[in-house]
Each structure stands twice: as C-alpha cells, then as structure tokens.
C-alpha cells in the first residue's frame, strides 16, 4: 500500500507522508490550536452590562461564550463585533469566548460584581443574657443584584438600638467581601435591633436580651398542715432584671430521713415547692451555678 502510493517519486513522497503524519500527531495532542489572532473581549466586564467582542478575519465562524452560569453558541460573520447582552454575564467569574472556524481560538475575561444591592446579615444569638462580653455577633456579606459577592471594600454601618432608646453604631469596612462585629449585650432586658446598612440598603435583625443567671437567691419557709412550703423571693439577676419564667430552681432538704430535692420552675418571678414536714431540717436553694441562703428549721 505504502509502496504503491510512493512509486512516482519515492523520496519526496515519503517525506511528505512523514510531514503529514507529524501534523496529524500534532493535531491529536493539541486539538484546539490557537494560532493567529483570536477574539478580543474586554479585559473586565461588570456583571449585567452589555459589551461586544471583536473578531478578526472574514467568513463564517461559530462563537461560544462559556461562563460560570451561562453558555451560548451562535453563528457569526468574522470581522464584526459580537454584541453580548448583559443578561448573559450575570454571574461574576471567569468567562471564555471561543471562536471556531478552521481551528478554534479563545480568550478569557473576568466579570466583576456590580455594586451592593443587598446584604446577607447573620446575627447571633436570637436570645442573649444581659451584660455578657462579646455576646452578640453580626456578619455581613454584601451582594450585588445578581447575588454575586461584592469583593471591593464596602463600609457597613452596624447600629444597635435598645427598647429604651439607647443606641450605638460602628462602621466596619468589608475585607474579602465580609464585615463583622462582636459586641457586649446591654444591661436591661428587652429587644435590641441590630441594623446593618450600606448606602440605601439596610437589613434589620432583632436580638432579645434576657435576664442573666439569678443573683442573691433568697427563700422563706412556712409550715402548713400538709408539710412545709418553700418559696423564693422574686428571682432577679445581678442587674435587677426578673429572671424569665420557666427557669428551674432546685430546693434541697436535708433531715434525719436523708436528702430530698424538688425542682420547681419560676412562675411570675417566684419559685415555690411543697416538701414533707420534718422536725429539724436544713433547706437550701440553687439555680444554675448560683446558691441561695440555707435555712435551718427546728420545732
């Protein structure tokens, strides 16, 4: 087969065949050669804006746009600008334009986010005890109208406003697309509004400040026909805030029969329990890590 092909001029024909095969191998190893001038997109495009890509040469070609969330294909006439609508480049990231005629040539460009249009605002916790250092945190990610993360520095204004009108604010500049702060909770129970804003965009979160752990637990004991009734005075934290209903108070009685405990929830600021009667006993109270005054009972 080879010899019959090469009979006319064996030497030069073999050389041509070799070149042909080498070309074939080159094509196999590099399937998309980028020779000559390729498409020319702008270096940077802002998300959602129209632009055009210039193409060299003449004739027909296939034009591909491949991006992080959109791809398209169209037949074009070379030598003319290709108009790309803004809605084809909504996502920020790297895009490729590929022009295929005899061979394919490509160029890359970046789409950058537009200006901030919304804020993702994470505020924690939803309930926080009063007077706790670094208890409230806020994290903000500015996003453009296409939900791209805005990485250019943006100044975020964090404003805390308490029920009673106390307010404070802090300006934080985003770094790598994020701004955050941590603040101490206030002294008084109630709601605190935490607002993050930039320009005319603002987002509000509400944090409820609740009383902290009980402070200075005090009890009184009363003998009744059925036994003894133990009752706390109104339970407050160290700032004087009433501890929320439902907080558990534990009463402990130690007498000749041994030790017994009763857990009772606070209702309307007071916890109450009924215990069996004893001639002599020591009754103590605790809630969380706080202990109250023990009372010694005798006949």
């Amino acid at each position: 087969m080879w010899s019959s092909m090469n009979t006319a001029s064996p030497g030069s024909s073999t050389f041509r065949t070799l070149l042909l095969l080498l070309g074939l191998v080159a094509c196999l190893t590099q399937a998309s050669p980028a020779q000559g001038e390729g498409p020319r997109p702008p270096a940077v495009v802002v998300a959602g804006t129209d632009f055009s890509v210039s193409t060299p040469g003449s004739g027909k070609a296939t034009f591909y746009l491949v991006g992080p969330s959109h791809s398209s294909k169209q037949q074009i006439d070379l030598g003319q600008g290709i108009y790309i609508k803004g809605d084809e480049v909504l996502s920020a990231g790297r895009y490729l334009v590929v022009l295929c005629a005899q061979t394919c040539q490509s160029a890359a460009f970046y789409v950058t986010p537009a200006g901030p249009a919304s804020l993702t605002f994470l505020a924690h916790p939803s309930r926080v005890p009063v007077r706790q250092d670094n208890a409230i945190s806020g994290v903000v990610f500015p996003l453009d109208k296409f939900r791209n993360l805005v990485l250019a520095p943006v100044t975020i204004n964090f404003k805390l406003t308490a029920d009673r009108g106390d307010s404070s604010s802090r300006l934080v500049r985003t770094k790598d697309g994020v701004a955050w702060l941590r603040v101490r909770s206030g002294n008084v129970t109630g709601t605190v509004q935490l607002v993050a804003s930039t320009g005319d965009v603002s987002v509000r979160r509400v944090v409820r400040q609740v009383a902290s752990d009980p402070c200075n637990l005090r009890i009184k004991v009363e003998r009744t026909a059925k036994g003894i009734v133990v009752e706390t005075e109104p339970v407050r934290d160290c700032s004087g805030n009433t501890v929320p209903d439902g907080t558990i108070v534990t009463f402990t009685k130690i007498d000749g029969a041994g030790k017994s405990t009763v857990d009772a929830p606070i209702k309307q600021g007071i916890a109450r329990a009924q215990m069996s009667a004893a001639r002599q006993a020591v009754i103590s109270v605790a809630s969380g890590v706080v202990m109250g005054n023990p009372i010694r009972l005798s006949e």
């Binding site: 080879w2 095969l21 191998v25 399937a31 998309s32 491949v66 969330s69 959109h70 916790p125 955050w180």
Partner: protein, 177 residues
C-alpha cells in the same frame, strides 16, 4: 529494499502516535482520580477552625469539585445537590441547562486545589476560603474539543455547615485575591 527503508523511517512516527494515544488514555484515567486538596487554616479568624471541621472541609471541598466535574461533563444537575446550595447551586444548574442547549460539555481534569481559610465567623456558621485551583479545562462542543488548557484560577468560596458536611454556598472566580 526501498520498501524496508520506508518502513524503517515510519517506525518513529508510529511510536510517536502510540505514545500520544497512551497519553490520551492516561489522561482519561487521571480524570477519574479525586481532586487533590491542600488546606491551610492558620489564617482563619476570628474563630479558630476546629480539627474536625478542618478535616470535614478538606474532604467535602474535594468531593464538591469532583461532583462539579461530573455534573458539568455529563450535564447532570442532579449531581450538584450533595455539596452545593444557594447561589452556587443555582448558578451551576443554570450553567448546565445552557451548556446542554448549546451542545457543550465541560471537563475539569487533573485538579489540584490550594485552599486557605480567611474568615470563620464567630458562631461557626460560615467560612470564607480562597482556592488557588489548577486543572485542565476541556470544552467539548458537538463532539469536538474546542478548548483544552491548563489553567490556574483563583476562587473565593463561602462554605456553610449542613447536617453532616460542609457545603458550598458561593463560589466566584476572581482575577486576583
């Protein structure tokens, strides 16, 4: 004699062709390997990244990219569900829909990622990472390879914890960090 001479000349060419074919075969087998992920959590602030979280991020980020390659090379949006949520998932699903419409498939071969945590929120509910990724980006349109390049790209990534893994919520390529 002349025929033997010609055949001898053709031997190196045949060897080169065989080598090329073996390289192409090797490339497809490499594409099946898991992405290589190197991580650095020392710069994360304000919260320190716990050991268990570090291991989870490293594992889940690699898995996410493997799924991304599989989803975009087969145009199967269902493969995104495990490791992508929110804008990242929406964007990739949209990419798949339009790829399919345009007759394109994308392959992300021989991936390696250098991942650096730059922000870990005080409550541990979101982490920002910078990924310097290297891979072979191969675009196939209507059965023809229209692009095949080794790229080094930078990604800004937001990950959040889900029930049993960390998932990618936002992923954006940038020209520089």
């Amino acid at each position: 004699m002349k025929v033997i001479f010609k055949e001898l000349l053709l031997l190196p060419v045949a060897a080169m062709a065989a080598l090329t074919i073996s390289l192409l075969v090797g490339q497809s087998s490499l594409s099946e390997s898991l992405p290589r992920v190197e991580t650095n959590f020392s710069m994360a602030a304000p919260r320190t990244v716990e050991d268990l979280t570090q291991r989870s991020i490293t594992r889940d980020y690699g898995q996410a990219w493997e799924n991304l390659d599989r989803a975009l090379s087969s145009n199967s949006a269902g493969l995104l569900s495990d490791y992508f949520v929110g804008p990242a998932k929406t964007g990739l699903a949209s990419a798949i829909t339009s790829q399919e419409k345009a007759g394109i498939r994308s392959h992300y071969l021989n991936q390696s990622h250098k991942l650096e945590a730059v922000f870990y929120s005080p409550e541990g509910d979101v982490m920002e990472l910078h990924d310097t990724a290297q891979y072979n980006l191969q675009l196939i349109a209507d059965g023809k390879t229209i692009q095949d390049e080794r790229v080094v790209l930078r990604y800004v990534v937001l990950m959040t914890p889900a029930a049993d893994r960390w998932v990618i919520r936002q992923m954006q390529a940038v020209s520089q960090f």
